[in-house]
């Protein structure tokens, strides 16, 4: 009974430390800061002398190596761990932590002695860091003392790296989403830039026939503004084109023609534009119709030339 009680107390303490550590970690989402906190916490809570985290930079690359991200307690640590070392492939295969209780195990040369990152270190532990089932890196924690890593330290580090790994995984995932979002925004701006710089008039309609987009040339020529967005095409045509032309365009739109073209002269309050209008459907990647593009080529300028 006493033993059971002792275990409960021990586990309680371990859990308390663990909760505290994870609480600190969960406040951060930056990958690099998380790596730094993992090292600091594992060193401080276990009372170790050296801790270092090696993370994979390029997860997609098959010839990946583990690069030193952050360390404490040692100056001359290897910059990277290659996969052809003895220790790394073992951990990748075993997917569990490796402990070295003393530099040389009795009777044989310890194949895991690489786990001790410095000659003054006499015991150590290497923990794999998994995030979303993918091995992200390795955490080395060393001590100058022999047999330093007992049950409670081992259990703490084991659980801590498992939780920390998931947080690191999430951080990578968030980073990826952010990058993708940035790329999408940049692409959007680029596309809009193209449309805006075109001298021809572009109107893009929604599936229901309301105005979704117009470029700068269209704004200037037809006199469109932000308030015209979502306005029905019928009203726009009434406002800007002759009744016949308007009816022809509406008819082409209503018949869902794949493409149609008209020629005519548009007269606004300042000048007349000899235009050629191309109507073409705007389709999504899977071929579904999402709207219509009206492309006005101004022939006046060409004729002037």
């Amino acid at each position: 009974m006493e033993n059971a009680e002792r275990i409960l107390v021990e586990r309680g303490t371990e859990n308390e430390e663990l909760v505290k550590a994870v609480l600190i970690l969960s406040r951060e989402s930056d990958y690099n800061i998380l790596a730094e906190i993992i090292v600091k916490l594992s060193l401080d809570i276990t009372g170790s002398d050296l801790a270092a985290i090696y993370l994979i930079n390029d997860l997609e690359n098959n010839k990946k190596s583990y690069n030193l991200k952050y360390s404490r307690g040692g100056n001359t640590l290897p910059d990277k761990w290659r996969r052809d070392s003895e220790l790394v492939p073992f951990i990748e295969e075993c997917r569990e932590a490796v402990i070295v209780m003393s530099p040389d195990s009795p009777g044989s040369c310890n194949p895991f002695c690489e786990a001790l990152l410095h000659c003054k270190m006499n015991s150590g532990i290497v923990l794999p860091i998994f995030g979303r089932e993918t091995l992200l890196g390795l955490l080395f924690v060393n001590s100058r003392k022999y047999e330093f890593y007992n049950r409670s330290r081992f259990r703490f580090l084991d659980s801590f790296t498992k939780l920390a790994g998931e947080l690191l995984g999430n951080s990578i995932y968030i980073k990826k989403i952010e990058n993708r979002l940035k790329r999408l925004e940049a692409r959007k701006e680029y596309n809009e830039g193209i449309f805006t710089s075109l001298p021809d008039l572009i109107l893009i309609l929604n599936r229901d026939g309301s105005l979704y987009f117009f470029n700068e040339a269209a704004a200037q020529c037809i006199g469109l503004s932000e308030s015209d967005l979502k306005t029905s095409i019928d009203e726009l045509l009434k406002k800007s084109f002759s009744r016949e032309t308007g009816e022809d365009i509406i008819s082409a739109l209503c018949n869902n023609e794949k493409s149609a073209s008209f020629e005519g002269i548009y007269k606004n309050h300042q000048t007349g534009i000899d235009y050629r209008l191309n109507i073409s459907p705007l389709c999504s990647r899977n071929g579904e119709r999402e709207g219509t593009t009206l492309f006005f080529t101004t022939q006046t300028r060409e004729l002037e030339k």
Binding site: E96, I99, S108, F112, Y149, R151
Partner: protein, 859 residues
């Protein structure tokens, strides 16, 4: 005589001289006369072939040889042809061969060098006195011409080229020139000598000789040519082996390789295909391991022309025998490999190795033989194979590992067995008549062609009440002709119940129904009361095969009979026939005074989907006869619509309802396949402890994939108390539930792991998986070890540790991981021993585990 000489005035001495002279003169005269006659005859003979024949008869060569000198003289005058035509020259040559004397040699060289100078040449090697004569002749004839004549007379005969070289080595230039002669025998003669010459020109000529158009020359060179360039010669010889079209040359080249170039003989068979490969295969040597490897490679070739010689060779070398006899069940991979190789041999009709099976009792060999004979090979060998296998199983059970041997043999006999093997099968069948495990395999494999042999025995089985494998027996009997079966079936059905038991009568009725004979329909329907109600559905489905009009007429008539048993049985089978023409009669039967008829009626109506009868259904739950109430509840549970299920749910919560009705309703819900019924059962299990036994039994029946999925979902969401109860259900479902439960072993559901392990431990899955660790198939062992390691229960780990000596290192790694989790003294001992494992990877894992255990032991 002296007085006579004295009378003549001569002294006796001179008298004697005179007489001698006289006699000599006479003899001379006689000789001259004879010689004259001889010459005359010979002259005539030369002129006319007929006369020559006469001459030969009077002067055969054996007689004429005494006048050889005279003949020589005459030949000088009349031409050398006379020594040939008279047959004297061949006799000289013959005598020269038998006794190499100089005079014969001279005569031969003088008169018939074109034919027999080679004999002189050979004689010169035996008698040194002849050699100068021969060399002189060469000189006189001229080197080139002389050697050409010599080569012509040689005609491809073999001689000692080395000795010849010492004799005529001075003329080697002329001999080399001869290697370019158009006649093969000239070249052959020359090559026999120059291949021993060390001069570079001769060597070069010899290398060229390997491409000579005559096979004898290529063969001679392959046999006797020596050079310092061993690898080049080996390549040349190998070229002959694979490219030369003449077998004798290839054979010689191969023999030379094996005798003189064994260390270089590592044939690259990877590149060999087509004709070269075939040539290599024709020359394989039994005691050459490289050749066995070649044959083994080509035994697997898709080109049957190449596979055939390889198979023949391997059979003659005893390799195929060994493959058969050494096949072992302990090593599944090797057994499959041997079997596939032997199968390849059998595809080219090489199968004599199978004769060795009668001397084997190895299960591996028996399995391989059975597999092979199942498809091909001499069918007579099936009998000794059957004898060996049946004998093997005399003292053994059909364990999963051995069952395949028995089954494969039976399939072989069924498909290809001759009379003798069928007889063996019959004896075995008789021996195993009380052993269901064997009968299940034996009976379905009885071929219908063996009816005369097997039917009496099978009918005897049918008439034996204790016969264990009745269903399989009926299926097999159905294969035989009805004319052979009907007498026995009617004998059973028509006899008194004392003679044949109920079981036997049911079997007979089933079989009669299966035969689908329209003229037996009435007998079938009248015997329906023999059937238990639960068998009616299956039975009725077959009745659809009978003519509809005839069936309806007979059923209508029988429904009007006073016999309640017949009426009840007829109503029971109606849903199975899907014939709805009797609904009026069935509805009326709900009010029949006989409870069995009422039960049959409600079951039939529900099975027909008469859902408008909801009120009647539920009202029958209040039937005065308890048996009717129970059956109704069961039927509603099984087939009822949602509204009826609600009524049932209410009855289950009704405190006034009796236990048997509730129990029947639960059983009915257990038989249902609706998700709703499962929900009712599990809700009841959660809220009620009194009906646990019935509820668990009902849930145990729900083993369809759909039900198991729902049960697992309920299990995941369930509170701990219900989980404990569901564990009992899963345990009772045994192997049905195992695959679904195993799927729960995912990281996402790791909190359920203790429950899963508990279920799998109790269903015996863990033990079964542990047993798989001793399977001969290494992939299966690894799979079992992985499952055990995923279970992470103590029992799984303990089982896994048993595989510490497994030859597969992946399994040993899993063992080490299990030991790390177990941390028992026994585990520590095993880890200690694994530290010395020959595999470095295992040693690393062992150290890894030991260090972790060491850390976990420290406070």
């Amino acid at each position: 005589m002296n007085a006579f000489f004295e009378g003549l005035g001569l002294q006796p001495f001179w008298g004697s001289i005179l007489i001698i002279l006289f006699i000599t003169s006479i003899a001379g005269i006689i000789f001259l006369i004879l010689d004259s006659r001889f010459r005359k005859k010979l002259k005539n003979a030369i002129a006319s072939p007929e006369k020559m024949e006469e001459f030969r008869n009077s002067w055969p060569p054996e007689k004429l040889v005494w006048r050889s000198r005279r003949m020589e003289k005459l030949a000088e005058v009349w031409g050398g042809s006379i020594v040939q035509e008279t047959g004297l020259a061949p006799l000289w040559t013959k005598r020269l061969k038998a006794n190499p004397r100089i005079r014969y040699a001279k005569r031969v060289l003088k008169f018939c060098p074109e034919q027999d100078s080679f004999t002189v040449f050979i004689a010169s090697q035996l008698n040194s006195r002849i050699e100068p004569v021969f060399l002189k002749w060469i000189e006189e004839t001229g080197e080139a011409r002389g050697f050409r004549i010599l080569a012509t007379s040689c005609r491809g005969e073999l001689f000692d080229g080395k000795t010849a070289l010492s004799q005529i080595g001075n003329h080697i230039e002329s001999l080399r020139e001869l290697t370019g002669d158009q006649e093969w025998y000239s070249r052959y003669f020359a090559y026999q000598i120059i291949l021993h010459d060390q001069d570079q020109k001769s060597k070069r000529a010899s290398w060229d000789g390997f491409m000579d158009s005559h096979p004898l020359i290529r063969k001679t060179l392959a046999e006797g040519f020596h050079t310092d360039k061993k690898e080049k010669l080996y390549k040349q010889l190998w070229e002959l082996v694979i490219e030369d079209p003449v077998y004798e040359v290839r054979r010689t080249a191969k023999t030379r390789i094996l005798n003189d170039f064994r260390e270089l003989y590592t044939p690259a068979t990877g590149k060999l295909t087509g004709i070269p490969a075939l040539r290599v295969l024709q020359l394989l040597e039994k005691d050459t391991p490289e050749d066995s490897n070649i044959a083994m490679k080509f035994l697997q070739d898709s080109d049957l022309e190449l596979r055939y010689p390889a198979a023949i060779f391997l059979e003659s070398a005893g390799v195929l025998d060994n493959l058969l006899l050494n096949a072992s069940l302990d090593d599944g991979d090797e057994l499959d490999r041997n079997w596939k190789l032997l199968q390849k041999a059998m595809e080219v009709n090489v199968s004599s190795f199978l004769n060795r099976i009668d001397s084997s009792s190895s299960p591996g060999a028996l399995l391989v033989a059975a597999r092979l004979l199942k498809k091909k090979g001499n069918r007579r060998i099936l009998t000794p194979t059957a004898a060996s296998i049946f004998n093997f199983f005399k003292s053994r059970e059909l364990t999963p590992g051995l069952k395949d041997i028995y089954l494969t043999l039976l399939e072989g006999i069924e498909k290809r067995g001759d009379d003798s093997s069928l007889l063996k099968l019959k004896d075995e069948l008789n021996c195993r008549r009380e052993n269901p495990a064997f009968l299940e395999l034996l009976i379905p494999r009885i071929p219908s062609r063996g009816d005369a042999l097997f039917l009496p025995l099978l009918l005897d089985f049918l008439k034996t009440d204790s016969f264990p494998s009745r269903d399989i027996l009926l299926k097999t009997l159905k294969k035989f002709s009805p004319e052979l079966l009907l007498p026995s079936l009617f004998e059973i059905l028509d006899s008194s119940r004392k003679i044949y038991t109920h079981r036997i009568r049911i079997s007979a009725l089933h079989l009669l129904n299966e035969l689908k004979l329209p003229y037996c329909l009435q007998s079938i329907l009248e015997n329906l009361p023999v059937l238990p109600r639960e068998e009616a559905g299956k039975f009725a489905a077959i009745l659809n095969a009978y003519p509809g009009v005839q069936f309806e007429k007979k059923v209508k008539a029988l429904l009007k009979t006073p016999d309640s048993q017949i009426r009840s049985s007829i109503i029971s089978i109606l849903p199975g026939t899907e014939n709805r023409n009797f609904m009026t009669e069935v509805r009326a039967a709900l009010k029949d005074p006989d409870p069995d008829v009422r039960i049959s009626a409600i079951i039939t109506l529900l099975e027909f989907g008469e859902i408008q009868l909801l009120n009647q259904e539920t009202s029958m739950l209040r039937d005065p006869v308890q048996r009717v109430r129970i059956e109704t509840a069961r039927v509603i549970g099984k087939h009822g619509i949602p509204a009826a299920l609600t009524v049932l749910e209410e009855i289950l919560s009704d405190k006034n309802e009796v236990y048997p009705v509730k129990s029947a309703a639960i059983a009915g819900l257990g038989a249902s396949d609706t998700p709703r019924s499962l929900k009712i059962l599990t809700d009841l299990l959660d809220s009620n402890d009194r009906m646990n036994r019935d509820l668990i039994a009902a849930l145990t029946n729900r083993t369809s994939n759909k039900d198991l999925d729902q049960l697992v979902k309920i299990f995941i969401e369930a509170p701990p108390s219900l989980r404990e109860k569901l564990i009992i259900v899963f345990k009772a479902q045994e192997k049905n539930t195992e695959p679904v439960i195993l799927n729960l072993l995912t990281p996402k559901l790791s909190p359920l792991k203790p429950y899963i392990s508990k279920i799998l431990d109790s269903t015996g899955f863990t033990e079964k998986t542990i047993r798989k660790l001793s399977n001969r198939n290494s992939a299966l062992r690894l799979q079992a070890a992985e499952v055990l390691s995923r279970l992470e229960s103590k029992s799984a780990y303990r089982g896994l540790v048993l595989a510490a000596r497994d030859p597969d290192q992946e399994i040993r790694v899993l063992v080490v991981k299990a030991l790390e989790k177990l941390t028992t003294p026994e585990g520590a001992e095993i880890l200690e021993s694994l530290k010395e494992d020959p595999n470095r990877r295992i040693r690393k894992y062992t150290l890894w585990a030991m260090e972790r255990i060491r850390a976990l032991a420290l406070d």
